[in-house]
């Protein structure tokens, strides 16, 4: 299927999505309310800037929302108003109520909505899921997922009301991963601690199958490299990956690397291309993608429980998600 994609937003994550769309041979129109769309298309050698959202919806077969978190809900509703299949950067929305409403409306209209939980397409995490599904470690027992990096330099990310902080920026990935590997979550307990621009959230999940998970997400003002790691222990085995180990490329020297918000990945297995490919295939065939709107909603329900638990200092129980 060849599509014209309406890419909304031209900031950080658009720099991952645009080249992936172009690489897959799709046409892209870009609109951004910031003055950064021309620079984005120039940087990646493709895409056409359009002056308005209406022009974007007019040209698009599918929509890709790469804007700040707090704008996802309204923009996705606008895309739904045009009946356009939509890929939405994670988190699906800023609030759980918005996510519930959005997912219900897309489902009612039978329009595909794809939450871009890209970590499911990172090679080591996809391999983790394959290995666990194959039974390599027996029954899942304990998961440990860690994601840490430098605090955002500024802007909307640091405004909790707009971004949801380190919980919705980083931990939402590992929430989705822990649920993908360990199944539905029944109970959440979390603590969070912020000092200036640094913030850690530690969340304990109790899954319906009795397995347990600890998720740690950190932004720190210390100048650290972005790092992801997991260890998944089962009844008779153990799986482990750490972005700090087994690096295929390591530079040491005086050259200053270009600033890059994206974690390292192999271009051969680009997770951004893989998620977009999966979305397009799903739209074309009707087959469910690896991550569904309900997965995005489930991640938001758990994230909401993490926020409430941390605020109230007590465990939060989750009722089973009703099938939609």
């Amino acid at each position: 299927m060849h599509a014209t994609v309406g890419l909304i937003g031209a900031g950080g994550i658009a720099n991952a999505h645009l080249p992936a769309w172009l690489d897959l041979g799709h046409d892209v129109v870009v609109h951004s309310i910031a003055d950064d769309a021309e620079a984005l298309t120039r940087r990646h050698g493709g895409g056409r800037v359009v002056p308005s959202l209406d022009a974007l919806f007019e040209a698009a077969d599918v929509v890709d929302i790469c804007t700040p978190t707090h704008t996802h809900y309204e923009l996705a509703l606008a895309a739904l108003g045009h009946g356009l299949p939509t890929i939405c950067e994670k988190p699906l929305t800023r609030t759980l109520a918005e996510a519930e409403d959005l997912v219900a409306r897309f489902a009612d209209a039978r329009v595909p909505l794809f939450p871009a939980h890209v970590v499911r397409y990172f090679a080591e995490y996809a391999e983790l899921h394959r290995a666990v599904t194959r039974g390599d470690i027996g029954s899942v027992a304990v998961q440990r997922h860690t994601r840490q990096g430098r605090s955002p330099a500024g802007g909307w990310f640091l405004d909790e009301a707009l971004s949801g902080g380190v919980l919705l920026d980083l931990m939402i990935h590992d929430i989705d991963m822990a649920r993908w590997i360990g199944g539905e979550v029944e109970r959440v307990f979390a603590r969070t601690h912020a000092v200036g621009g640094s913030q850690s959230t530690q969340a304990f999940l109790t899954h319906a199958n009795g397995s347990i998970s600890v998720l740690t997400a950190t932004w720190t003002t210390a100048p650290i490299a972005f790092r992801t790691l997991f260890e998944v222990a089962g009844s008779r085995g153990l799986l482990h990956a750490d972005s700090d180990e087994r690096r295929p490329y390591r530079y040491q020297g005086d050259a200053v690397p270009a600033p890059d918000i994206l974690p390292d990945f192999s271009p051969l297995t680009s997770p951004y291309r893989a998620e977009i490919e999966d979305f397009v295939r799903s739209v074309a065939t009707g087959a469910p993608p690896r991550v569904t709107a309900l997965d995005g909603l489930a991640a938001m329900r758990i994230a909401d429980a993490v926020a409430r638990s941390a605020a109230e200092g007590r465990p939060v129980d989750l009722k089973p998600l009703e099938a939609a």
């Binding site: 029954s139 601690h193 000092v195 200036g196 530690q202 304990f204 003002t221 222990a233 200092g313």
Partner: protein, 321 residues
């Protein structure tokens, strides 16, 4: 100087015996209590009373966890200094009784936390004290191993007092207490028996801590390593997140790896047992406890007890010392 090993129930008895032998100038006795492993060069006694009649200056208690109290109280009554294998006790009441008995007798009571002597931990402590990390935001600690299989009592709650939470929380809890110079105010724990199943105790556990200054910490204490897994040097890890720096330590990361038809993994790390034993011998010599002392053991027992209370309550509980 005369030092006796009191029971060989815990495998560390053989390691402490080897460390004592390396010290020289120490007469070493042992009451094995029916267990094997007493090495050459150590005088073995038939009964516990024979050991006390030998008049040791100090004893190293390596009995089953639930029997630490009984032996420590006897040592205090005999006026003998004690280095006690961790956990110091399996209840706060027992730990308190041991601490008070030693205090009343004027004897030394130390807790065997060899990781406290790890150079990587010393570097971390110094970096935190210097301010290299800025203000501490959070700590993530792990002490994960396999299910102890060489001695059956580890998985018998009547002897061990519990599973992974009892066995593996205290080492890193001791490091946290020393590093932060504080105890947590609130403890939450979850556990299961999924890894290495079929045991009467929990084999997986996670503990969440909150300190009065807002610092948060997590401990993964799971016996989650499958049998036969080669040493990858990650027995104990700490990640300390600060506003100006982040430190990861792995005190047992010194592992030579290779292959000879199967994986080779030979740890070559620092001889921490030797440092612990030397600290104890110094304490016996002048009657002044060295770190890690009775309080170090006591506060970690309080934390483990809180973790079990949290499991029962399915809620966070205050730490009670």
């Amino acid at each position: 100087m005369k030092i006796a090993l009191l029971s060989f129930a815990h495998l560390h008895a053989a390691e402490y015996a080897a460390a004592l032998l390396r010290c020289g100038d120490v007469e070493i006795g042992a009451y094995a209590d029916g267990y094997d492993g007493v090495p050459d060069g150590v005088t073995a006694f038939e009964t516990e009373d024979d050991l006390w009649a030998w008049r040791p200056d100090g004893v190293v208690i390596c009995a089953e966890n639930t029997r630490h109290r009984e032996f420590a109280l006897r040592a205090a009554a005999e006026g003998v200094h004690v280095l006690c294998e961790k956990p110091l006790a399996t209840s706060l009441a027992d730990a308190t009784a041991m601490l008070e008995a030693a205090r009343a007798a004027g004897t030394v009571l130390m807790t065997a936390f060899p990781v406290r002597f790890a150079p990587a931990y010393a570097d971390l402590r110094a970096a935190v004290r210097r301010g290299d990390l800025g203000r501490i935001v959070s700590i993530a600690a792990t002490n994960c191993g396999g299910v102890p299989t060489t001695r059956d009592w580890f998985t018998d709650p009547a002897s061990s007092g519990g599973g992974a939470l009892t066995d593996h929380v205290v080492h890193v809890a001791d490091l946290l207490a020393d590093l932060l110079d504080d105890d947590p105010i609130e403890v939450y724990a979850i556990a299961n028996s999924i890894p290495n199943p079929g045991k009467a105790v929990e084999t997986a556990g996670l503990v969440s801590l909150r300190y009065r200054d807002g610092v948060i910490a997590s401990i993964d204490c799971s016996w989650s390593r499958p049998p036969g897994r080669p040493n990858t040097g990650d027995l104990v890890t700490l990640t300390v997140i600060g506003t100006e720096g982040v430190v990861d330590i792995a005190p047992f990361s010194g592992v030579l790896t290779g292959w000879n038809g199967g994986p080779l993994a030979h740890g070559y790390g620092a001889p921490l047992d030797d440092l612990l034993i030397r600290a104890f011998l110094d304490a016996v010599r002048d009657g002044e406890a060295r770190q890690p002392d009775a309080r170090a053991g006591h506060r970690t027992v309080a934390l483990v007890e809180a973790a079990y209370r949290s499991l029962l309550a399915a809620a966070p509980v205050p730490l009670e010392i």
